[in-house]
Structures are given as C-alpha cells and as structure tokens.
Amino acid sequence: MITITDLEKYYATEEVRTIALNKLSFKVKEGEFVAVMGPSGCGKSTLLNILGLLDDPDGGSFVFNGIEVAGFNERKRADLRKHNIGFVFQSFNLIDELTVFENVELPLIYTGVKPAERKVRVDAVLEKMQIMHRRKHFPQQLSGGQQQRVAVARAVVNNPKLILADEPTGNLDSSNGNEVMDLLTELNEAGTTIIMVTHSEHDAKYSHRIIRMLDGQKVTENVLAEFKSV
C-alpha cells in the first residue's frame, strides 16, 4: 500500500540545515499495523506528516496505493487525503466550537456526503465507539479518554484505508490509553491499515511490526506478529 524509497526532508534555517529524513525506505502492506519508534527528533513526526500528505518530501519517492504522490500540490494532496486517510493526534485536536456529533460529521461534509447519510454514518460510528450518549456535548465537557474516542470516531467515519496515529495515548492515563489501543486494534482487524508513532513500548506491542528510527534513518525492524496479506 505504501512504498517509500530514499525519502528525504530537510529543515533549513538561515545558518543550519537539519536533516529530518535521510534516505528512508520501507514498505507497508495493506491491513498492516506498524509502530514507528525512536527518540525525540529522530524524524518520526516528519515521516508521519509526509505519509499523511500534510507535507511534501524534498527528495525520494512515495508511492501511495500505486500512485507516486511526491511532488503533488496541496490541492491534490488534500483531495487524496480526505478520501483515504484518518488522523488521530496526541492532543485530540477536536474543534471546540463543535459538538461531538458535529466534529465527527465534519469529514463527511468535506467529502460531500448528503445530510441524511451523514447522520446514519455518524450515529453508527458513535455507537461503535460507545459515546452516543455524549453526541450533543462539546469537547471540553468530555474526559480525555472520551475525547480521544471522538477523535478516533472522526478519523474512521470516512472509512479511510489508512489511519495515522501520532502518540494517540500520550495524553491519557493507562486505562483510557488501553481502551484507545483496543479500539485501534479492532479497526486494524477489520482491515484498516494503521501507522502509529509512539514512545510507548507497551503501545507498540499492539502492532505487527516496529520500525525504529534514529537521525532520520531506519535502524532496526522487529516483527512481532505474523501478518498475512488480506
């Protein structure tokens, strides 16, 4: 599903050029659950931004679903993104002014789904995430665990092929964190590809494979579980 080859990304200030990704290459198969680990500044987040089509690489190739996307402009990336990728962030990033229902509904609005169908789909996903009873609340009225469940609901409502999770449990206590990891595992078992950046060895164990990075390069890869192509 994803093939990156010699991916490069630099950050330049006036005097220093920092290399964030240094000729990074790997593949992710459809249906796989991959954890990316490494110390701060190793390039994990940069990688995630590029994989999420939020940012553009400076060099190398990135093939997504058979399409070379390196060099796509913002509009094309956005289009691809909204139909294929869901995001889960450490800090949830729910929109404060919208209710739980409206937050989850948002991606459907942007992909042009009709209101009646939106309601059905949002209700279904809220039911699944067990926060139906909170649908009219605003994000600030929810606990952290509930907020992250809303964020996951929002990420999956469009049935994306890929979910990118950036430290999804970072702001949660362990029991809430485990709940979120269970959710992600369920989604993965249902066929969604997941790439997750994390610091937590515990969370990483939920994945099939851990890619460890240092200074913008892959250092090791541990396969934790046998993954069979779907």
């Binding site: 987040s45 940069t46 995630l48 931004n49 999420g52 939020l54 940012d55 509009r75 956005a78 289009d79 993104r81 909204k82 139909h83 995001f87 962030f89 990033n93 729910l94 929109i95 404060d96 002014e97 919208l98 409206e102 948002l106 991606p107 609005i109 942007y110 992909t111 929002r154 950036d166």
Partner: protein, 799 residues
C-alpha cells in the same frame, strides 16, 4: 455546508466575548455615525427634485463686470425676466422672486394684531405652476386675478388666523399695502430652496411693473421647454444685454443658468439669493469622507482583532484542513463570520442612530428626522454597506487565516508571522495617523473659532439691540420712539440708520473726481447721526456726522472708512476732511469724518469701502434704530423697549435683534463644522482605542510565556509593562510622523476660507502627538500591567 458555517461562526462569535464586544462596539459606532450622516447627505441631495418640472427649471444668475470682480450674483435686475420671456421662445415660464422689502422682516397687521414674517415673497403668478403649489383653498389660476391678493401657506394661515377662516381676510403689510387673502396652499416641501410662506403678486408693486436694468435684487427663475439646449439659451439670454443695455451701464457680462436642483448645494460662491435653505457641497463631501474614514477605522479594528485571534483559531483551521476542507471553504467560513458580525453591528448601529438623532441634531444643528432615517435609499445603502464592510473587514482575516497550513497541528508550520504582523502594524499606524490628523484639525478649527469670536472688529457689536422701524407710518412715530428711548437711563445712545452693519447696505461707487471712469464699489448706509458713539467706531479725523442739518441744506455729509480714504489718495485722514467726494447720490457730498476700518462683513471677507451718510435728500429710508444699552437684565430691558416701541408705533409688530447674535450667526456653518468635526474625531479615536485595547490584550496573551520566563528570571512589573507598551508607542510615533504633514496641508487649506485667520502653531502638533501617545499608553498599559502582575507559575504550567 452553509448551515455549518453559520453554526461554527456563531459559536465562535459567542466563544470570544471580549473580541466580539470590542468588534461590534467599534463597528456599531462607526455604522451609527455613517447611517446618520448618510441620511443627512441623502436629504441634502434630495433638494428640489420633487417638482414635476424640476429638470427644466433654472435660476438665472449673472456674472458681473470687472468693477465687481466678476462675481456671480443670484439677484438680477427686474427687467431680465420679462425680456427673456418675451424674446426667447424656449422660455416656457418665468417668475421673478423677491422677498418683501429686500429681505428684511415684514410687519403684518391683521385686525388689531401684529405679526412679524420673514418669508414673505413677491413673485409672478407663474410661480404656482412652476413649483407645483397645491392649493387647498382657492386655485393657482385665480390666485392673483384680483389686484392686491396674497396667498398663504397652510402653516402661515394657522399662525395668523389660528383656525379661523382666512380667505378674503385683509392683511396690512408694513403699514403700506393692504392685501386680501386669495388662496391657501399646502406647505412647500422641507427639502426645497423655495421657502415662501406667503406670496403676493409682484405686479401689484412697483417692483414688478417698473422694470429697468439697474438695481439687481430679483431672483429670476425660468422653466424651459423640455429638452432645450441650455447652453444655447444661455447664449441667447446673454445677447439680450447688448440689445437692452447701453455699454456704459453694463455692469454684468453674461447670464448663467443654474439648474434648480443644484441651487441648494452649489451656491456657496454665488452672492445673495433669498432662500434660507442653502447647503454646501463641500460640507457634504467632507462629512461623507469623514464618515467613511470612521467606518474604515472600524473595519481596521475588525481586521486587527480577527487576525490577532488567529493563533487561537489556527488549530481549528488546521484540523478542518486535515479533514479535507479546502482554502475556499475556509474563506467562506470567515466571510460568513464577518457577515454575521457586521449584520449585528448594523442592527445595533441603526437602533442607536435613532436614539442618537436628537443628540446629533442638538450638537451639529443639522436637521434630519426619523423619517429621513427610514428612507429607502438608506435601507438600500445599508445593504450595500453590509456587503462592502463584510468584504473589506473580512478580507484580511479570511485571506490570511484561510492560508494556515494543517501543519500547525504538529507544530511544524513555518512561522509566517512577519507578513501579517507587518500588515497589522500598518493598519494600527493608519488608524492612529487618522486620529492624530483629526485631533490636529479639531484643535485648529476650535482655535480659529475662538480667534473669530475674540477678534476686535473695529466696532463693538455687543450691547446693541437693533429695532426695526421700517413699517413706521410717519416720521413722527420714529422721532417719538427715539426720544422715548433716549429718556431711559440704561440706554447710552440711539442711532437711526438704514441698516445694521453687513446686511442690506446700498451698493454704490465712489470716486475722487466726477470725471473718473472707474470708481470704488462701496457699501453705503444712511444714518441720522451718533453712529460713531453707538457702534463705538474709532474716529481718526474730523467729527461725527452733524446732529442737525438745517432744512434746505442739500449737502450730503459723509463718514468714510480708511479703505475709501486710501482709494481717494489722501496722505493723512486730516487732509480729507471737508473735501468733496463723488458718491452717485445726486448732490454734492463732503467728507466730515474718517473712521478706522471695521469688519462690517464676516471675517471670511476682507474689509471693503464703507460710508455712512446723512442728507435730507436721501434715496434710502431710515429703517432701523440701533440702541446701545448698559444693563444686565435683558428681558426687563427688552420689555421696556417694546413698551416704548408700541407706544410710538401702535400698528407695527415689534421686531428686534441683538447685534452680537447677528454677528455670531455669520459663523453658524463654521460652528456646525467645528462641533461635527469634534464628535467625529472623538468617535474615531474611541474606535481606534477599542482596537488597540484588543490588540494589546492579544499581545499580552501571546507573550504570556515570555513574560512568565522573564519574571522567573527577575524582571520587574514596570520593566514588563514598559516592554509591552514600547512596541505600541513606536507605532504611534510613526503615525505621528505621517499625520503631521497631512494635517498641516488640510488645515492650511481650510484656513484659507478666512480673510482673518489664526496661525498654525507648532504646539498644536506637539499637543496632538502627546494626546495620541497618552491615549495609546492608557489603553495599552491596562493590559500590559495585567499581564505583568500575573503569577508566572500559572502561565508556565499551562504550556
């Protein structure tokens, strides 16, 4: 999708209460000012458009010859109209129009009651058809069919007859003509220069029948056939001058046709004319400019506050984009938000304008009614304003914020603050520059007004009351009044004159030798004497005019000002005493005294030649008694004068005015300008402060962490307050540098309206600069101090 924008926008508006309140307050004030001014302007622009013949009616003005400096006059000889009607076939209708007795207040007598009236006109009967007079009683065809008829407006009828039958009743005008009421017409529209409350037939008076090309006192209106080429007619009309007037007597060079609908606003440079309802296009333009400026300042506030808020909103926008929103959709979101905000402001501003209307009226003296506020053009204008302000005020936040990258979510977005920072600063500088210009302008306007009020005019208008005696039935009445007044202990002196200084003097020309071709145009005023004492003129040489002249003395005694003295080429005032002066008065005139120049006209004009004269054989009448009094109790004093008056002139209405109030009236429009400008400036500055306040709040919030760190490292409250205020003060200084030359140029131009003007002092600029700094400092320091005294632990923990 749109519904969703509304939802988000509305919740955003509610979520940021401080910003919303600041924004709406600023915009609503700006809009309120605009609404009031637009309706004022709308009323001014609507003048005289309601007449069915409006497009074809022109006032004929004339350009004078070199001797009168090529001025344009609105009043013509009474022969002009009839000549045009006779010789030019395209002239469909013509009416001459003159206020009774050249515009002085008329005294009316009905039964044993006396009334004063100053909108009594004489006109040709064609006026009724030309100006759509709507007759409630009688009709336009027969109104003047009987000699000595008069028609009244509905409200004049009410005033004079108080509900009683008016038709057929007799009215005696100035104890001279007795006229019979032959018609009642509906009051003329408020927004018309035609302000007659009573009209009688000009053909009943020598003014209409005795036509000649001399005295220019008659406004002349013509109605042309539809689709006539005006330029051609103007040409033809000018041709009449050579046809009817000998070369030597041509003191006018051509006729100018002024469209009726332009008279109200475009007559500032035209001399005379009788209407009491003249506006000024320059005032209209400056008011429009000012109101747009205030509105623009309010828009800037909105932009600043909205973008300052962007940090808070960035994540939301980023998230929307991650979820698939494109830039266009985000643009729409911001425009919707602005649209709602502006709509609320318009509603509030509109409501407030109704409440503020009486205040606006009382401060500026401008007449607008609630109906004017509800006029259709205003409502249409409001919709346009809504769209325009939304587009203008919404543009900057929409454009800058819709461009926010989704990477803000992961803190990887490039700091692209500098460009928007620059724009924001530029906007603040603009606001403050405009405010400083306004402060300077207002200061100089007020200075000039006080200069005018305190300027020594060369005579003393205070302590003088002018009593009209033009309707005295005979000279005995006048003598009895004067003697009665002179007996009072609190009256210092009494002078019977043709007129008060600066209005209704007779225009003449004087020359040294009878053979001189070109004379000097002067104002002449007949008097019976004691004028130096009564007006407190300064006598340079010679004496007051003689108290008594023996019967049969045909000499004309004159008192001239320095202007005339210089024109006549005398070395010293003493040289001129006893010398002959050529005055166009018919008999030999000699100079008996010289007075220092005095400002008989407004200070907008230079002093011209002025001559008081006394003679048995005078063409002008004595129409006014000037009374110099010495008392504080004015109402008791006026009662006393009235008693004396009524005892002497029992059949005449008592009509008086205080001379100093008359003088103050000369500057009424400038007073209006001054108070209007003051309000505007105060509001503009206030709105700018609202914006600055919000911006300061934002900066303080944005720098909370920095302030926390600084305090942990030992910074003091004063240090931090200074740090936060400094940036804003720099902006105010830049604004000051921009504002000074602009203000100087503007005010220099404005002062050129006055022949006598105050200097533009450097301290005005310093004052305005300091005021701006002080205001900015007060606004900003509140936020700065609040931020500086906050507990740093709190701010650091939240990060």
């Amino acid at each position: 999708m749109i519904r969703n924008y509304f939802k988000i926008a509305w919740r955003n508006i509610r979520a940021n209460i401080l910003f919303t309140v600041l924004n709406i307050a600023g915009l609503a004030i700006g809009l309120c000012v605009c609404i009031i001014l637009f309706s004022f302007v709308n009323t001014e622009l609507s003048f005289d458009k309601m007449y069915s013949n409006a497009e074809d009616i022109y006032r004929v003005n004339m350009e004078t010859s070199e001797e009168y400096d090529f001025e344009t006059w609105a009043e013509l000889p009474n022969a002009v109209g009839p000549a045009m009607a006779q010789d030019i076939p395209q002239v469909k209708r013509m009416t001459r129009l003159i206020k009774d007795d050249f515009g002085t207040t008329a005294s009316l007598k009905i039964g044993d009651k006396n009334f004063t009236e100053n909108r009594l006109y004489l006109a040709d009967s064609t006026i009724f058809k030309m100006f759509d007079f709507k007759f409630l009683e009688g009709n336009s065809e027969n109104a003047f069919s009987k000699p000595k008829s008069i028609v009244l407006s509905q409200s004049a009828k009410e005033r004079l007859f108080a509900g009683r039958e008016a038709m057929g009743q007799l009215i005696t005008v100035n104890n001279r003509d007795t006229l019979q009421v032959s018609g009642i017409y509906a009051d003329l529209p408020e927004n018309s220069v035609m302000d007659a409350t009573m009209v009688y037939n000009i053909l009943d008076s020598w003014m209409g029948t005795n036509v000649y090309w001399g005295n220019a006192s008659y406004e002349t209106y013509v109605q042309l056939q539809p689709n006539t080429n005006v330029a051609e007619i103007q040409e033809q009309a000018t041709g009449l001058i050579d046809k009817y007037v000998e070369k030597d007597n041509q003191y006018f060079t051509r006729f100018l046709f002024q469209p009726l609908t332009k008279i109200h606003l475009y007559s500032a440079d035209i001399r005379d004319g009788y209407s009491s309802k003249l506006g000024n296009i320059t005032t209209i333009k400056s008011l429009l400019f000012l109101s747009l400026l205030v509105l623009f300042i309010a828009c800037i506030n909105y932009m600043n506050l909205a973008t300052a808020n962007s940090q808070k909103r960035a994540k939301g926008i980023g998230m929307n984009k991650v979820l698939g929103a494109n830039r266009r959709q985000m643009l729409s979101l911001f425009y919707v938000e602005t649209g709602i905000m502006v709509f609320l402001s318009i509603v509030i501003g509109y409501a407030v304008s109704f409440l503020a209307l009486p205040l606006f009226k009382s401060i500026t003296g401008n007449e607008i009614s609630y109906q004017d506020l509800l006029a259709t053009p205003i409502l249409i204008g409001l919709s346009i304003i809504w769209i325009l302000v939304t587009l203008i005020a919404g543009s900057y936040p929409a454009i800058s914020m819709s461009g926010i990258s989704p990477l803000v979510l992961v803190n990887k977005s490039k700091k692209k603050g500098s460009a928007s920072e620059f724009v924001r600063k530029g906007l603040v500088v603009f606001q403050f520059a405009a405010s400083i210009v306004l402060i300077i302008a207002v200061t100089i306007i007020l200075q000039q007004m006080s200069f005018i009020k305190n300027k020594n005019l060369g005579y003393d208008p205070s302590g003088i009351v002018a009593v009209s005696i033009k309707s005295a039935e005979n000279n005995q009445q006048v003598q009895s009044l004067i003697q009665g007044l002179e007996r009072q202990s609190n009256i210092e002196s009494v002078s019977a004159v043709q007129t008060i200084p600066g209005s209704n003097e007779s225009g003449r020309s004087v020359s040294k030798l009878a053979t001189d071709n070109i004379g000097m145009p002067i104002a002449s005023c007949r008097t019976n004497g004691d004028i130096v004492k009564t007006l407190k003129l300064k006598l340079l040489a010679g004496t007051e005019l003689p108290q008594n002249i023996v019967a049969g003395d045909s000499l004309i005694y004159t008192l001239i000002n320095e202007k005339i003295l210089n024109f006549l080429d005398y070395k010293t005032p003493e040289d001129a005493i006893g010398k002959t002066i050529n005055t166009e008065l018919g008999s030999r005139a000699i100079i008996t005294g010289i007075v220092e120049n005095f400002n008989f006209n407004s200070l907008k004009e230079d002093i011209g030649g002025y001559m008081y004269y006394k003679s048995h054989k005078a063409p002008e009448g004595i129409r006014t008694v000037l009374v110099r009094y010495n008392t504080q109790d004015l109402s008791k004093f006026i009662d006393l004068v009235q008693q004396t008056f009524t005892a002497s002139l029992p059949n005449t209405a008592f009509d008086y005015q205080f001379l100093d109030r008359h003088v103050a009236q000369l500057y009424a429009s400038e007073e209006k300008t001054a108070s209007t400008a003051t309000i505007f400036s105060a509001l503009a500055i206030f709105i700018a402060c609202l914006g600055l306040f919000g911006l300061a709040a934002f900066t303080a919030e944005q720098r909370t962490k920095e302030i926390g760190v600084r305090k942990v490292l030992g910074a003091t409250v004063t240090g931090i307050t200074r740090l936060l205020s400094k940036d804003f003060l720099k902006l105010v200084l830049v604004a000051f540098v921009i504002a000074v030359p602009v203000a100087y140029w503007l005010m220099h131009k404005w002062l050129l309206n006055f022949a006598y003007r105050t200097e533009i002092n450097w301290w005005v600029f310093v004052f305005a600069g300091l005021a701006a700094i002080l205001i900015a400092l007060l606004t900003v320091s509140f936020q700065a101090i609040k931020a500086a005294i906050a507990n740093p632990v709190k701010s650091l923990r939240t990060e």
